[in-house]
């Protein structure tokens, strides 16, 4: 009996069609909301697009970075968790494509900056920002997808060789020039060794640039050299939260029993650790600005923490991403309850979405009131739909429980 439940997840999972339709619906709603938004109020449409681009792309990248860390440190505690993290690479090509429309928003993002602060030189020229952003994201996407490729190839090839798997789309590429299990496994191991290191080196650089170029530079005067580090750490924390959500949903909704409460507890410990690291980054940033008390630095924080309508949002970010998870994760029991992990993962992710909102929007929005309505909700839903679809595509094509290869379960 245990065998049957263990096997679930060892082959690709059938995703219920209604979930796919729901995701497609969200995507359609999002696309429609964005297009209508462009006609009604282009500024709002672009700023929420940027917020969601940073959030969803970061979530997927954070997950892949976690898989790379797992590989580099030689971890063995959760092969299915690693696989779920690798799967987030499925959204990265989509996210890369979604980067290009931002070109049409550049004037909205940076036009005012250059009027107010013409001294900002060529480095912050919008076209240059766009080009280096594209190069960085492109290389991150290639590295991440290839990393997942080397992890999946030995399994897919072996399954095809033994006729355990009907040939699917992508399999031609995945199992091209198949040279037999042993050779391929060694080759996969070497490929992953190199690419995991590559992902881990490229990630902090690319995401520091993203933070400086797409968030910091939106404010005409603010600068902070710590902000890049703060941002890639918060993105990694986001990836872990997303991974917790994915793990719970895969176990509870798709019935993969190989993901155990022990895995949830381990993910919970990681989340607790990065919760503390995240708040340490927030504090290091805050205390330096507080101490220096330079107007070009403080205005950024004062606007977000003490002025309406942003202040309540910023404080909610701290409560949702730091305070509540910290208190709950102190309990060993709570970390093993799937629904608590799900709630906490969603809470942290929602908090970090709000964090990106609060980082981006106050720099761009100079009218009365809080720009949040059907347009923002719609675009966010669209990105959620795109993310869910790419993840469902991954789960439908690849096994959650690695069946062979260096990281198959030992027990």
């Amino acid at each position: 009996m245990q065998d049957a439940s263990e096997k679930r997840g060892a082959t690709p999972l059938p995703i219920p069609p209604r979930l796919i339709w729901a995701a497609l619906g969200l995507l359609a709603v999002g696309g429609a909301a964005f297009l209508v938004g462009l006609l009604v109020d282009a500024a709002r449409a672009w700023q929420i697009y940027l917020v969601n681009f940073l959030f969803w792309g970061g979530l997927a990248q954070g997950g892949v970075v976690f898989a790379a860390v797992y590989h580099v440190v030689g971890a063995r505690w959760g092969p299915p968790i690693r696989r779920l993290a690798e799967g987030m690479a499925a959204f990265l090509p989509v996210s890369f494509v979604l980067f290009f429309p931002l070109y049409f928003g550049l004037d909205l993002f940076f036009g005012r900056v250059h009027e107010l602060n013409p001294q900002r030189g060529g480095w912050f020229d919008p076209r240059f920002i766009f080009v280096r952003g594209g190069l960085g994201l492109g290389s991150m996407t290639v590295l991440s997808v290839l990393f997942a490729y080397y992890s999946l190839r030995p399994e897919v090839g072996l399954a095809l060789e033994r006729g355990l798997r009907p040939r699917r789309w992508l399999d031609g590429w995945l199992a091209e020039d198949w040279q037999g299990d042993l050779v391929e496994r060694q080759r996969g191991q070497r490929g992953m060794d190199v690419l995991a290191a590559g992902v881990l080196l490229a990630y902090p650089i690319t995401y520091s640039f993203m933070a400086f170029d797409l968030i910091m530079a939106l404010d005409p005067f603010w600068y902070s050299s710590l902000f890049g580090g703060y941002f890639f750490l918060s993105t990694f924390y986001l990836g872990l939260a997303g991974l917790a959500v994915a793990a719970v949903l895969t176990r509870q909704c798709l019935g993969v029993q190989a993901i155990t409460p022990g895995h949830f507890a381990d993910l919970g410990k990681l989340l607790l650790g990065f919760n503390l690291t995240y708040v340490a980054m927030v504090w290091s940033q805050y205390v330096v600005i507080w101490y220096g008390n330079l107007p070009e630095e403080t205005h950024f924080v004062v606007l977000r923490l003490w002025e309406r309508p942003w202040a309540p949002l910023s404080w909610s970010v701290l409560v949702a991403t730091v305070l509540i998870p910290f208190l709950v994760f102190l309990s060993q029991r709570a970390k093993q309850v799937p629904w608590i992990m799900l709630a906490l993962g969603v809470l942290i992710a929602a908090g970090l979405w709000l964090e990106r909102y609060v980082l981006v929007v106050p720099s761009l929005w100079h009218q009365e009131g809080l720009p949040f309505g059907w347009l923002e909700a719609g675009v966010t839903a669209g990105f959620l739909g795109a993310g869910a679809l790419s993840y469902a595509f991954f789960l439908q094509n690849f096994a959650v429980v690695p069946s062979s290869g260096p990281h198959s379960p030992r027990s």
Binding site: W283, Y286, V287, W290, Y291, N293
Partner: protein, 171 residues
Amino acid sequence: MPEPSAGLVGSFRHLDSLLEAIERLQQAGHRNLRTLSPVPHHAIDEALEKPASPVRYFTLIGCLLGGITGLVLTIATSLHYPLITGGKPILSIPPFLIIVFELTILFGGLLTLGGMLLNARLPRVHILPAYDPRFSEDRFGLWVRCEAKDFDAVGQLLRSAGAEEVHRAGE
């Protein structure tokens, strides 16, 4: 530890057989069990049904003490020597929090270490009678403290669960 008999020690090659032996012995009413293992493993804690370790209370008390000490230290020294720095108020909480945090961790860490040593009764001067160098290498030991009259039954149980070897503790 004046005991009439030191009991029996079973030596196991596999964790699973050790866990099985623990379960069978507990069913037979033997509660005074002790494992000697080369590696820590949660499954052993669970099988022995040990209550949660009291060390966490030491940690909590240490952290609270450290936090309070940090607050008192920073506030009291600032009030005793009120020197305005960088135009900030005398009592500026943001930089104080760094000291508070560090003392919280320091006291918490030290009391955790102390609590661990105290509860594990370390350092141990005498070697346990059941100890065998193999239990630091590749074997699990299970020490059952029981009366001499139970030796046969317990030895039987240990062997049937998969013990490679059963002998009297201290021999």
